[in-house]
Symmetry: C2
Subunit: 346 residues, 2 copies
DNA sequence: TTGTATGCGTTATCAC
DNA sequence: GTGATAACGCATACAA
């Protein structure tokens, strides 16, 4: 049988009311008795019964000590990415530090039909950290019942707290890094739709006085994952039909193997002839490329931690106005970039 | 105010006892009244209060409707692998289908000191699916309080249910696949410690009557992730100083980029001169290599699903004797293997 | 088969 | 400040 408030009350020779007050650290309790109660709790290894608590604490903001990590409408290819695990781990670590627990759930509105995930239905959570956003009205309504933070999703309602990967500063930092190494003509190769990345590119190029040339920007639909290692040939072809080809290329990790290949086909060596920087720091990619790829780590773990921290704060102070937090990435240097300010050593 | 059993009882003009019995589908309740109760529940959108339920159902085997996914003593490099996400997703999917929820938690006995994870402490779970195993006595004791399944860990107590990746059949299948394509001399390059993999290799080689040559087995400590793309040079060197070098190599995805490189250094082409098969089907690796790497998918998602299913069964029938389940992987064919039975086409 | 009454562990509302 | 006691929503032993 588990030890209850009654046991504590007996042991400390006080009433159950007092025990309860200590438990909720109410101010109105004599310090001498409080000590007795605390001692008794420790001695008997008292663990308040959460079910009994939840039953009465209907006014409490934080009833359950649980928050949900909800992955919404993501294809498996995304769900199984390593960064998803990092988000989750970051959240979990922060939530655990705060003495709370995470429920992991997925929600695919298409395949689940109208079914609302159980976590939202049964209400045994104090808040939600969501990756993605529902597109049905009914889905939005259910989600809106809880305090929530959205994880790095492009389209989130403006009245929603969210934690974003700072793509703009990420690309900006890449450009600045290359510039500091003497690169003036930097190409940008990516999928369409990453406006903030492109923004970061343009800002940095202008700000640092680098070559402005729309031809350096190669944006087109690329299959992810790549279908073939020649999927990026078009980009290199376009770039090298420019009057002055770039000395460096900015792209995404997933594309860099094909970029390496296309470059090699033209007899161009990385980093001797062309420098390459990837994005996302996908370890399985970066380390296995030859040469290993310098890449921008988006800091998914940090994003998760920040989101958890923000959610707990939001739960504690619901009236605070919502805000967006941007998490900066960090460039991980490997061997795919050449310092042009150093004279040729070959 | 939420709707309770009392409301239902009134609406259906029965007693709360009857309502409760319907809720727990007790056999002893008149079908006519049962219909009335069910109708009332639907109409009032009755949602039983779990806290109140949990408080009373102390005899119930399954109190909480929650199970824990506990990742124990794993370095971040492992935790952030894509397959970890697949394990978790598989578990989650199965658990959700069964109308239950997953709590995700991590436990690092070193860095957490003696702290036992909250999920185990507060007991709001019906069981645990663990990746890894505690090494402290106190840790083992806490874990032993719950029904549990261990996920693919090398050293688990024999009285523990567990779901394993079937390395032996995985490697066996790779060898058999290569043999079916006319390969007789197959090399095995891996880290030490994977005895079952080696076992699978030896069995297959014997069974299929392939060349037995200890020189084909190259097992040595290799840094993960690779430090340099020449980290596997020794293996290829050893293999090609054999009187008869292999026509195919079996290794792990992580090592194959370096194997490709070492092969290329010797002027050997994949797959024309040497076929290569990886292990784990790490998408970020396999797709970006040139040529794309044929690899054995361990079926982490399936492992997760099987574990969840097994745990639920174990909870329902605690007396059943424990067992190990082996999940077979599936070879994903890409372009790194040559069919030797087809005549040279170049 | 059905209804009634009691208990679960805690918090909240009273009096003192 | 403190202690007694009534709730909370449900399950169940017992009576009918």
């Amino acid at each position: 049988m588990a030890v209850t408030v009654v046991d504590i009350a007996k042991k400390a020779t006080v009433s159950v009311g007092t025990v309860s007050r200590v438990l909720n650290n109410s101010p109105s309790v004599g310090s001498e008795r409080k000590q007795r109660v605390l001692a008794a709790m420790k001695e008997l290894d008292f663990r308040p019964n959460r079910w009994a608590r939840g039953m009465r604490k209907d006014s409490m903001r934080e009833k359950t000590g649980q928050i949900a990590i909800l992955v919404i409408n993501r294809p498996n290819t995304d769900l199984h990415q390593a960064y998803m695990m990092q988000y989750i781990h970051g959240v979990q670590q922060e939530i655990a530090t705060a003495g709370r627990k995470c429920i992991f759930a997925t929600w695919n509105e298409e395949s689940d039909g109208d079914a609302i995930p159980l976590v939202l239905l049964d209400g045994e959570i104090d808040g939600v950290i969501a990756k993605g956003f529902p597109h049905t009205e009914i889905g939005k309504q259910w989600l809106s019942r809880y305090p929530k933070i959205i994880l790095n999703s492009p389209s989130v309602p403006s009245d929603c707290d969210c934690v974003m990967v700072d793509y703009e500063s990420g690309i900006h930092d890449c450009v600045a890094y290359l510039a500091s190494l003497g690169h003036h003509r930097i190409a940008f190769v990516d999928l369409p739709g990453f406006h903030t990345k492109l923004l970061g590119y343009r800002h940095a190029v202008n700000e640092l006085g680098l070559d402005v040339d729309e031809g350096l920007i190669q944006v087109r639909d690329i299959p992810v994952p790549l279908k073939s290692t020649s999927d990026l040939d078009w980009a290199i072809e376009n770039l090298w039909s420019l009057p002055k080809p770039p000395t460096a290329i900015l792209s995404h990790d997933f594309f860099c193997s094909a970029i390496y290949k296309a470059l090699a086909n033209r007899g161009l060596k990385v980093p001797d002839d062309v420098s390459v920087i990837g994005y996302d720091n996908v370890l399985a990619c970066c380390g296995t490329l030859d040469p290993p790829l310098t890449s921008m780590d988006i800091g998914a773990f940090e994003v998760g931690k920040a989101a958890a921290k923000q959610l707990l704060e939001h739960i504690a102070n619901p009236q605070d106005r919502s805000r967006k937090i941007y998490i900066q990435g960090q460039l991980v240097e490997r061997d795919s970039v050449r310092d042009l300010s150093i004279k040729e050593t070959t």
